[in-house]
């Protein structure tokens, strides 16, 4: 070592040594900066810049070495062998290229160590070839031991430096440069010290040897080139830095634009956040820097965050509120460094929207009560619970009486307001835990404890029946309630609902404003009714209907005038079904029109078999009368059967006239024009509006049987019949008295001048065959 030191101190030109050092540093910087530039650019220029970097690094080594040699003052004449000098440069370029080629892109330590050895060897070659090219006028002896020592020390240093330069850790990577420098210095100065020159005037420099005066400018030129390269490298580096700063600020702007909160973390500590996250947490971006991520997301450790799937978490903001968030972790390369980016998305708005959607889906928009969908769920849950625990509960279905009337009369806006008020009153009737729903229209449902069912129903009927004052109008509606108990009246929602519905139906039929509990008989009745309905629908096709006739006679002389046709149903199992049992049902299910038409046709047909002065009277239902094609249909029947219109009498009730007067008016006049007589049936029982008698073309009034029953004892009945008879006479109408059962009653009708009687006194309704026989008897009188 002493030799090395003394060699440095004594045998060198100190100034040149400093220049050598400067050249080395400049060259190294140029090489590194150009290499970095090469790594930034792409395509062919990348390779070109990489080559420039390698050449510049080789030149650096060579120039440093040459300046070092020039600084050497051996105390004798010196020169350079041009071939060896050139070769030393070329070999160095090849060696460094090979070394870099081996090391580039590889993290394998062994490979990098190999590359380091290659680098060391090429630099060692440069040295010793260079030294071999150094010619002096003297003898050259080598201290082999020192050469070996220089190699033994420097080569591992090169290997280590290459390994370190490929390390992930910045601090270790920074050690690589000084390590290489020291290895080079070691190689150089140990090499110089190993060289022992002894002046020998007998030895002269060969002809070809280049004197230092010639070499020095060449070396200087190379050095200058290196300086130029260094400046280029510096420019590239500055440009790259400016670009990086621009990129970063653009990235930051982009990040701040993002709606999601973003945090860049290193080892759980926040490095940077975007504006959204700062706003979300409620502090500045600067304040968040350096805080741990767990202070924001205490329940979600970073390690638990998935890189592929978003997950839910809670963000703790500065004011202590917990914000529901969605979290995603991503490893992102920022610059050359891998960093963890956590994306934090505020879920409050989405959750609010979802809540709103759910509310909309499950609530009745008008009243704010639960809707059918939600109620079905509640009912199912109650049924399941009841089945599991035997705990009973009551299902109340309710329906507003007269609501349709209000809606039609006052308009839908008023109807809606009324429904809202009904909803509020219902809520006031029930405890807060009770489930109330609007199932649609004016239908509501309530679930209460079984023991509260009847009280609740009573309260509801009372409270909903109270008047509603809306915009100066008084509205009176009422509620009917059907109660079914789960699970006794139905263990699943549909059966239970049907039971409650049957109870409600019964309550409504009882006149409304009442509640009914479900009873088994209701189901049976409903079933019976359904069965009857089915039978009734088939009865027409199966020809189970018959027309019976009740004769009508002149009360004075007892002569037949005609007969009233009455429909009868001969049920295959139940026998004769009374009209009161099936006519209302037929009206309800829309069967009355075809049935009425059938009766009319049959009666007309059969009447043609009677003596030609006898009439047949047929009842028309309100539904038939509403049909504007009725007149045409009757005409068709008359044509088909050949019965003259003058022998047909159509009986209508007052209620039939209430609806659609215009159509009725036209129809009745058209029928009158065909010679058909129209009689007002059951007069005296309904409104008995005298204006109808004036407005419509009636030719006959039939006085209801209820008035005849009490004559001649009851003075009021007598007075009514007398009044009606005289009224009819004044209006040019005839009068028929129905239900005449006694001889006194008949005598009374005779004395009052009634034109026709009908009743059990004459005959009950009889089959068509019998009436035909009766009418065709030689003596046409029952008197």
């Amino acid at each position: 070592m002493e030799t090395i030191y003394s060699c440095l101190r004594d045998a060198h030109d100190q100034d040149l040594l400093w220049i050598a050092a400067l050249v080395c540093v400049t060259g190294v910087y140029a090489s590194i900066s150009l290499a970095r530039h090469a790594s930034r650019v792409e395509g062919n220029s990348r390779k070109a810049w990489a080559a420039v970097a390698i050449v510049s690094s080789a030149c650096t080594a060579w120039a440093t070495h040459m300046v070092g040699l020039l600084a050497f003052q051996p105390g004798m004449q010196a020169g350079f062998d041009p071939l060896l000098t050139l070769m030393s440069l070329l070999l160095t370029i090849i060696g460094i290229s090979a070394s870099m080629g081996t090391a580039i892109g590889s993290r394998n330590r062994l490979r990098r160590a190999g590359a380091g050895l290659l680098l060391g060897l090429s630099i060692a070659l440069l040295h010793y070839l260079g030294q071999a090219a150094y010619l002096v006028t003297g003898r050259v002896t080598w201290n082999v031991q020192l050469v070996a020592l220089s190699l033994a020390w420097s080569l591992p240093l090169f290997a280590a430096a290459m390994v370190l330069s490929g390390d992930k850790r910045n601090s270790l990577r920074h050690l690589a440069g000084p390590l290489i420098l020291s290895a080079i210095a070691l190689l150089h100065f140990a090499g110089m010290a190993a060289l022992e020159l002894t002046f020998d005037p007998r030895i002269s420099l060969p002809e070809s040897a280049l004197p230092p005066d010639v070499v020095a400018p060449i070396v200087a030129a190379v050095c200058a080139a290196l300086v130029v390269l260094a400046f280029m490298g510096l420019r590239f580096a500055l440009a790259a830095r400016a670009q990086a700063i621009r990129d970063r600020s653009r990235l930051k702007q982009l990040a701040d634009l993002a709606v999601e909160g973003l945090a860049i973390c290193r080892d759980g500590t926040i490095d940077a956040v975007n504006g959204s996250l700062a706003t979300l947490v409620g502090c500045s971006q600067q304040d968040l820097k350096g805080r741990t991520l767990s202070s924001l997301l205490p329940d979600t450790p970073l390690s638990k965050l998935s890189e592929h799937q978003e997950q839910d978490g809670e963000l703790f903001t500065n004011d202590g509120t917990r914000v529901p968030v969605r979290l995603l972790r991503k490893i992102v390369k920022i610059g050359n460094v891998d960093q963890t980016v956590v994306a934090i998305r505020d879920q409050r708005e989405r959750l609010r929207t979802e809540q709103r959607m759910r509310t909309l889906a499950f609530t009745d928009a008008l009243t704010g009560l639960a809707n059918r969908l939600q109620f079905n769920q509640i009912l199912s849950a109650n049924c399941e619970k009841a089945n599991a625990t035997e705990e009973r509960f009551a299902l109340l279905l309710l329906d507003l009486d007269r609501f349709k009337f209000v809606n039609d009369t006052f308009g839908h806006a008023m109807g809606d307001e009324l429904l809202k008020r009904v909803a509020r009153r219902l809520s006031a009737c029930c405890g807060s835990t009770t489930s109330i729903a609007r199932l649609g229209g004016d239908e509501f449902a309530i679930i209460v404890d079984e023991e509260l069912a009847q009280d609740t129903a009573e309260t509801i009927i009372d409270v909903l029946g109270r008047p509603y004052l809306i915009d100066g109008s008084i509205m009176d509606i009422a509620a009917s309630v059907g109660i079914a108990i789960g699970p006794a009246d139905g263990s699943n929602p549909s059966v239970l609902s049907r039971s409650a519905d049957l109870a409600l139906y019964t309550a409504k039929h009882a006149g409304g404003s009442v509640y009914r509990r479900f009873e088994r008989e209701m189901r049976e009745r409903a079933q019976a009714r359904r069965q009857l309905e089915l039978d009734l629908r088939r009865a027409l096709v199966r020809e189970e209907f018959e027309v019976h006739y009740q004769p009508q006679v002149d009360p004075g002389d007892g002569r037949f005038q005609g007969a009233e046709a009455l429909v009868r149903w001969r049920h295959p199992e139940r026998g004769m079904v009374p009209p009161a049992d099936f006519i209302p049902l037929a009206e309800e299910i829309g069967l009355i029109s075809p049935l009425g038409e059938w009766v009319l046709r049959t009666a007309c047909e059969q009447a043609t078999g009677w003596p030609s002065h006898l009439t047949v009277a047929v009842n028309l239902s309100p539904v038939q009368l509403r049909d504007s094609a009725l007149a045409a249909r009757v005409m068709q029947i008359l044509q088909d059967t050949g019965l003259p219109g003058s022998r047909l009498e159509l009986e209508i009730t007052e209620t039939a006239l209430l609806q659609d007067e215009e159509t009725t008016y036209n129809t009745l006049h058209a029928l009158r024009a065909m010679g058909i007589r129209i009689s007002m049936d059951d007069f005296g029982t309904g409104y008995s509006s005298l204006s109808y008698l004036r407005r419509f073309p009636f030719s006959k009034i039939k006085i209801d049987r209820s008035f005849v029953r009490q004559v001649p004892e009851d003075q009021e009945s007598v007075a009514i019949i007398q009044a009606l008879t005289s009224l009819a006479a004044k209006l040019n109408m005839t009068v028929t008295v129905e239900g005449v059962e006694t001889a006194e009653q008949r005598a009374f009708t005779v004395s009052e001048g009634c034109n026709q009687i009908q009743g059990y006194l004459i005959s009950r309704p009889i089959e068509s065959v019998s009436i035909r026989a009766l009418f065709n008897e030689p003596l046409q009188s029952v008197a």
């Binding site: 009153r425 006031a428 009372d462 409270v463 109270r466 509603y468 004052l469 100066g472």
Partner: protein
């Protein structure tokens, strides 16, 4: 603003001893006095023989809103609207709400309203009825009985012979 008067009858559905019920009714009156004061209503309440008879007067909107509140109340049953009609002037301008104390004429009023348990009464009858209510209030507060006025009013509300 047009003035309206509303008269209804209902059955008291309060629980407790006579004193307790009386106390509750006083509370109802004072609560309704406060809320009526805010909505510009005036009126009087009779609570006698298990029946409430209340007269309310004021603008239609406030009247309807208050009556809806009354209809939401479960402290009475079978609320029956006797009259809702336009009125020329307030009969009870002095009182947002006041309870008409027990007295002989009250039986009369209750009889009239009680007989007609359902259905509305004609305006002349109800006018006489509220006038009688006012007279009772005035005579009680004046401390002297104006017999003539009371007798006249009670004669007016007597139902026609049937």
């Amino acid at each position: 603003m047009p003035l309206y008067r509303l008269l209804y009858r209902s059955e008291i559905a309060l629980n407790g001893s006579k004193d307790q019920i009386d106390h509750q009714i006083d509370q109802i009156v004072s609560a309704s006095e406060q809320s009526n004061h805010l909505s510009g209503l005036t009126g009087a309440l009779i609570a006698s023989g298990g029946v409430f008879i209340q007269a309310l007067e004021g603008p239609l909107g406030a009247l309807e809103a208050t009556f809806e509140k009354i209809c939401l109340d479960l402290r009475h049953k079978r609320v029956n609207l006797i009259e809702l009609a336009a009125a020329e002037e307030r009969i009870f301008p002095e009182w947002s709400m006041i309870r008409v104390a027990q007295g002989a004429q009250m039986i009369e009023i209750c009889t009239v309203v009680g007989v007609r348990e359902s259905g509305r009464l004609d305006t002349s009858t109800t006018s006489a009825l509220v006038s009688l209510m006012r007279n009772i209030l005035l005579t009680k507060s004046a401390g002297s009985l104006d017999n003539e006025v009371a007798a006249g009013a009670s004669a007016a509300i007597r139902l026609p012979d049937r």
